[in-house]
Amino acid sequence: MTSPRVVIGAPLYNHAADLPETIESLLTQSYREFTLVCVDDQSSDATGEIVESYAARDSRIVYVRNATRLGMIDNWRLAFDLALEQSPDAAYFAWASDHDVWHPRWLRVLVDVLDRHPEVVLAYPRNRRIGPDGVVIDKRPWQFDTAGVDALRVRFRRTMSDMSAGNMIYGLGRSDAIRRAGVFRHVLVPDRLLLMELSLEGQFKQVPEVLWFRRWHGQFFSLQRQRHAFFPNGRPLYAYVPWWISHASALTWILGVRAARAPGIGRWAGVRLGGRYLRLAGLLHFRQELKAFRIELFERATFLKPIYVRSRNLYRGVIRHTGLDALSGRWSKSFGDAIRRRRLVRLVKRKARTAANEAIGSGRYLLRAVRALPLMQSRVIPWLVRQEIDEVPAGREVGLMKRALRTVVKSRKPIIVGPWLSEVGFEVLYWIPFLTWAVKEFDIDRDRLIVVSRGGADVWYRDLAEHYEDIFDLMSVKDYRHRNEERWSEGGNQKQMAPSAFDDDIVDLVKARRGLSDVAVLHPSVMYRLFRYFWYGKGAISLLEKHAVYRPMPAIDRGPALEGLPAEYAAVRFYFRPSFPDSTENRALIGQFVQALSRRMPVVLLNPGLSLDDHEDFDPGTGKGVHKIDHLMTPTTNLQVQSAVIAHARVFVGTYGGLSYLGPFYGVPSIGLFSYESELVATHLDISRRLSRRLAAPLVTLDIREVAMVEMLFDTLHRDSGTTSAPRAPVAPAS
């Protein structure tokens, strides 16, 4: 059997969980002629058993377990040596990690690149980072190569400044070039040094396809961890030398002193490359530190980031507007030749850098001192971090919402709030609290606000706005239903995620009715688009807490219309929805429940007898102690009447959602019933509980089958309240 052209060395250490997928991704490569040499550095998990089980099935695998723990550098070196020992004719070599995954075409594509391009010494694909569960966790693959760059110094410089060692080191390289480049030298960040040396050997070629998936377990690069992993038997002193200094020294020694380099690099050139590396890497190190500092600073003090971005944009704007950026032509004439100009730029840059260093240096010390304060450690920093995390997913939407509100407020025009065309539940639970917050936050004059809703919902907005327009005063119920259903079918559901043609038409009608030529519109989509992050579990509860104010609804007079109602009663309304579907069982249970309830306390049915939304009302029928008020309701007053009845009720009972949220706003206990728990939305439940706690009025959700529990509750309520009086006209007794 001939030795394969490709050999893969896999240094292994304690990654048994990911290993089967890793090994299988290598064994299923469409390019099959390779040897896989697995070198286990004394793993304490099942690594050995796993590899041996595959080795028993596939003769391409060679498994070696080290007698003593070598550490990462020596294990990588050993993997290379053993691999080439195993397959001495292998022209191409690649290291494979014990946790990443390779696409089945990975090897074929890379072999093809090296075969076709003799000037290339290392080929690697684009990659994506995946989490432990295999899900891709970053979007854009990193890109860099030096393909086509013949000039050695240019390759060296580009590699120095743009390389990302972790994204390249698992590429397929030429074995002899890797050997000449020293494999892995005993320094920190050895992959970087190896790639620098390889850049002197030839070009790097990146394949523009994602053929490698790097598994990330949430650990960031750390020199401390490298020291620990590289030198498990004790850290040598040189492990504490800054990496760029040790790399530069190694390069100078190898290239300049030992002159152990390929033709084309003399001793002096080698020394100069070492010096160049020292300068470039030192600068890079400084830049990285600066960047890390900036990131850390912005993580801790989020308020600084917008200031920074604004200042930077301002600076760029000034440069652009004053024409300073266009000065280069005149600059050239004024300062003569390119050399002088470059010197001048260098001088200016150096001065700027020195000044920046001084400023940043002192700022950094100050920040460290502030951070060290116990109060900062225990309270302020955790709070800042929490704030940041809370707002990250919806951050952009928060900005857009605030911008929209600011635009509306600054316009100085009358503001149409709405039109609200969606469910009662969302209006009560989210829209009104959001408006309450917005009016307070942006100090909006209530006289400017014209709320547009339907069914007499003005009673909910009295504290907020001076003006109200009812949609049913603008169009017939039939037209409203028709247009609204059209809107749903176009938008896919009821939610007002964006203004529709119907919204625009209503705004026009309001303008015409009020004789307004120009208005600003505060549309519910501003709220919907923000809070959807919370509803769909993408944003924290604080998103809502920061942008909604829950307070009692304005009180409603009992009024002459409700005179005939008993002094104490239970307000009841049932309709069907996914969590409470229309079924024989549910109908029967409601009937039984209303009867049982009416024996303990008068019941007022809120069913409006109108078909105004997508809910199918259920009328539990009549009986002794059951009162109907549908004759009091018209399309333009139904919500007003129902609100008044709820506001003066002893308790509200009905289908969970919609009106059941209203009770706590009037200080009335509410019981929301359902029969399919899986259809309840957890975020709405969470808010309803917080609502009931904040407004000190219970909002209980119960499965309808627990009728006995509800009856028990009512017995308690009834006992507390005493007996009730008989109904009086004009409310018609239903029995």
């Binding site: 997928e21 299988e24 299923t28 696409h103 089945p104 896919g492």
Partner: protein
């Protein structure tokens, strides 16, 4: 006299018009498209009679599909006029109607354009194939090209396949490859795929009734294509000379009896989630047994109403390493600014690599 004369003239003209109409229909029956349809119908009728034992062999369509198949039984006797507007009848499969793409629906049009732009931003190699103006093709006219929900869905799938690194090989291959799709619907995706990967033999397994749409459509879109239906040659020869064929149509009841010498990619979109555990397992295991290196799936773990399925991903995982491909933040059913319904957000582009 004058009146009766003019009435006679009118009647003569009407007869002439009727005759002209019949002549036009007769001429349409002679068109290649209608001949393709007739060929398909002959095969479908034969396959239906062969598939009568569906329930016995465990290939019975679900209750949902039984109802759906009944809805377009009329396609077994379609006039040339229906075939000429075949795409207008595919709503039976997709729920998409041409009137949802009227020019007046500007907001919808804008949303489609936005989504198309978002997809183009993900597309590194120009995989865009618009809906052809063929057999009544419809969609919003964006930049002179027709775009509908299916077009965007198929475009998204092609991009996902590219990002999952399975498409390049099929696009650039010099050797003939074989791709097998389970449930190709009306043939929209095979059309796009074939446009992008011409050197591929595309095998479609589906309910025979659906070939009335897919086979007719594909034969119209690729008039030069070489097509074979199961049963046109002895069953064991179905894959003989497959490298010379463009499309092979195999009914769902017979896929397990055939053994192509190679399968390079198995595709399923939105139908595994509707099947039973046994059916999904059967298809995935079959691909594995045939040595198919890749599998592509766009499915939810399970349809909300499907109680006969455990989980698509867990079944795939038994035979293939699943690699999710991250695409847009909304599912293919939604536009960018639409509310992501919980049910819709479960669609995942998954590229599976065959296990050892």
């Amino acid at each position: 006299m004058t009146d009766s004369g003019s009435t006679t003239d009118l009647l003569v003209a009407a007869d002439a018009a009727a005759a002209a109409w019949e002549a036009r229909l007769a001429a349409m029956r002679d068109q290649p498209v209608y001949r393709s349809y007739e060929r398909t119908r002959r095969r479908v009728l034969a396959l239906l009679s062969l598939g009568r034992n569906r329930r016995l062999t465990g290939h019975a369509p679900s209750d949902y599909w039984s109802g759906e198949l009944d809805k377009f039984e009329y396609m077994l006797d379609a006039s040339p006029l229906i075939v000429e507007k075949l795409r207008l009848h595919t709503h039976n499969l997709t729920g998409l109607h041409a009137n949802q793409y009227r020019d007046s629906l500007r907001k919808h049009r804008r949303r489609f354009r936005e989504k198309l732009e978002a997809l183009r931003a993900l597309d590194e190699v120009d995989l865009w194939v618009p809906e052809p103006r063929l057999l009544g093709g419809f969609g919003f006219d964006i930049g002179g090209q027709l775009v509908n929900l299916d077009t965007l869905k198929f475009y998204e799938v092609l991009i996902a396949m590219h990002l999952g690194a399975v498409l390049t090989e099929l696009r650039e291959t010099t050797e003939r490859k074989l791709v097998w799709e389970i449930g190709a619907g009306w043939g929209g995706f095979p059309y796009q795929f074939k446009k992008q990967c011409p050197n591929v033999t595309y095998v479609i397994t589906d309910f025979p009734e659906l070939f009335l749409f897919s086979a007719t459509y594909l034969m119209a879109a690729f008039p030069e294509a070489k097509v074979r239906f199961f049963g046109e040659v002895p069953a064991e020869d179905t894959f003989d000379g497959w490298r010379d064929l463009d499309f092979i149509f195999i009914p769902d009841t017979f896929h397990a009896t055939l053994r192509p010498e190679q399968v390079d990619l198995l595709i399923n979109m939105v139908s595994f989630q509707e099947m039973t555990t046994q059916q999904v397992d059967g298809y995935v295991r079959r691909a594995f047994d045939l040595g198919c290196p890749y599998l592509y799936s766009l499915n939810r773990d399970r349809s909300g109403h499907n109680a006969e399925l455990t989980n698509v991903r867990s079944i795939i995982e038994k035979y293939y390493w699943p690699h999710p491909v991250d695409m847009l933040p909304v599912s293919y059913t939604k536009m960018l600014n639409e509310d992501p319904d919980e049910g819709d957000s479960g669609y995942k582009h998954v590229v599976g690599w065959r296990r050892v």
